[in-house]
Amino acid sequence: MQLNAIEIKNLTVDYDRITVIDDVSFSVEQNDFLGIIGPNGAGKTTLFACMLGIMQNYRGEISFFGKDIRKSRKYLNEIGYVPQKPVFEKNFPVTVREVVRMGMKNLNEARIDDILKQVWIHELDHRIIGELSGGQQQRVFIAKALADNPKILILDEPVTGIDQQSTEIFYSILTELNKKQNITIILSSHDLDAVNHLANKVACLNKTLFFHGISDEFFKNDQLLKQYSESSMQQHMHHRDEK
């Protein structure tokens, strides 16, 4: 039997005595395209921080390919991560090709060419990253994530602030990576339509796990969609009141 790519059991995270993730359990099978949806403050970024080992102060268990991530950081070699808005100095003097090469010891030029072609950015390889548009920059960060030959790609609301055309290109690339290269993809997004079209599984997070299962079961169930939008609205109001 094939091991699950990711297994999360009873994950609870408290931050400043406030519970931001409450007893969440779900699994991701290999080659899944999982869309994680939830309003602002639902705990999506915190969940990713735990999965990526950035946040270690949690209860419960997270396993990648059957191994508890607290016991070894080697699992990180299997993961590519694309953050929401990568923070870097605007004038950082580095070309697209140099970004992909960063931190990599055994990455030859032919492999870099392949990766850049996969994300449709090959013709920009000698441009300085700060000169590119937001959409192009995000494709560079996918290329960077692919340099490690990851089995899993985690993307945290990667198209926030990116125009429609770039977003469509971005989603096409993700579909190709999932279907042709069998990379398991976990994408958090506010865009329900996108998740509906791209993901075969969906997880609705709002501190607790509201739903986890086949996308169609969620998106074709009006009752679930209504409950989700009501719960999202409540969270949105709560978030606004806190501010």
Binding site: I54, P86, E89, F92, E98, M102, G103, H126, I128, K144
Partner: protein, 274 residues
């Protein structure tokens, strides 16, 4: 005036040491500038003033005590930044003034300002000894080898700390390594431009080179070229016109910076890089 001055032993030592320091400051400074840590060199240099004063007071070679104090200061700044909610520039400001305050008290205890103190404040590259030239070359070589070996990790953790961490790069260790290297570089460079102008060597060639909008390796090369040119020309001009080398070096760096600004404003850099 011919190039006969280059046959003088003191001039050869000054130029060799100057080139080594220019190389070192350009490379280390680029990482500091890109980490928005431009004034780090200044803070460590000012804190090393306390170390120099302590050395002079107790009769130990001042550069040794300066190395100790500057390394301790570099580590303190890093720790304060990590542990407390204080911005990097605020930590730098606190350390900068602490170093000067301690230095001033120690100097007043040891009988006031002497020529030695002034040579550390303003630099004295023309007086550099053979032993110091060897030390400067050895430290420059060692630091550049470390940077070369860890180049990919250093640049990645400077570019995006979070992603570097996720890729398994030991970012915290790299951060400590950078401040350690910067601490050594600052004290080594004090002999060239002195405590008061040290940050010019770290910052100006790099800020100028970044404006040419090239890749990382080319930016390093451009920065090194500007720094080496300014240091060598500055040392020679200072001898010819009997002026302070540190002032001449820094003014040349500023002239290149100003020229780059003018070229940039004409749009020439954009045309060249298009």
């Amino acid at each position: 005036m011919s190039l006969d001055i280059l046959y003088f032993s003191f001039m050869q030592k000054a130029i060799i040491s100057g080139i080594a320091i220019a190389l070192l400051c350009s490379v280390v400074g680029l990482f500091l500038v890109l980490r928005r840590y431009s004034l780090f060199g200044d803070a460590v240099a000012h804190s090393s003033f306390g170390g120099i004063a302590a050395g002079l007071l107790v009769g130990v070679y001042p550069l040794w005590t300066a190395y100790l104090v500057s390394l301790a200061s570099a580590l303190i700044i890093t720790k304060i930044r990590q542990k407390f909610d204080i911005s990097g520039e605020a930590a730098v400001a606190v350390l900068l003034s602490s170093g000067i305050a301690v230095g001033l008290i120690l100097i007043s205890l040891s009988g006031g300002f002497t020529t030695d103190i002034f040579s550390f404040l303003f630099g004295s590259i023309l007086l550099v000894s053979t032993e110091n030239t060897i030390l400067i070359l050895a430290l420059t070589g060692s630091i550049l080898i470390v940077i070369l070996l860890l180049y990919r990790d250093l640049i990645y953790s400077t570019f995006n700390e979070e992603q570097a961490k996720v890729s398994g790069i030991p970012v915290e260790k790299i951060n400590y390594l950078i401040v350690f290297i910067a601490g050594i570089t600052v004290v080594t460079s004090i002999q060239l431009v002195g405590i008061l102008l040290i940050s010019a060597l770290f910052v100006i060639p790099n800020v100028t080179a970044i404006m040419y909008r090239r890749g990382f390796k080319q930016t390093v090369l451009v920065s090194i070229s500007f720094a080496v040119f300014s240091v060598v020309t500055g040392i020679i001009l200072s001898y010819i016109f009997d002026i302070t080398p540190s002032g001449a070096i820094v003014l040349l760096l500023i002239a290149i910076f100003a020229a780059t600004l003018i070229i940039k404003s004409t749009g020439l850099i954009a045309k060249l890089t298009a």
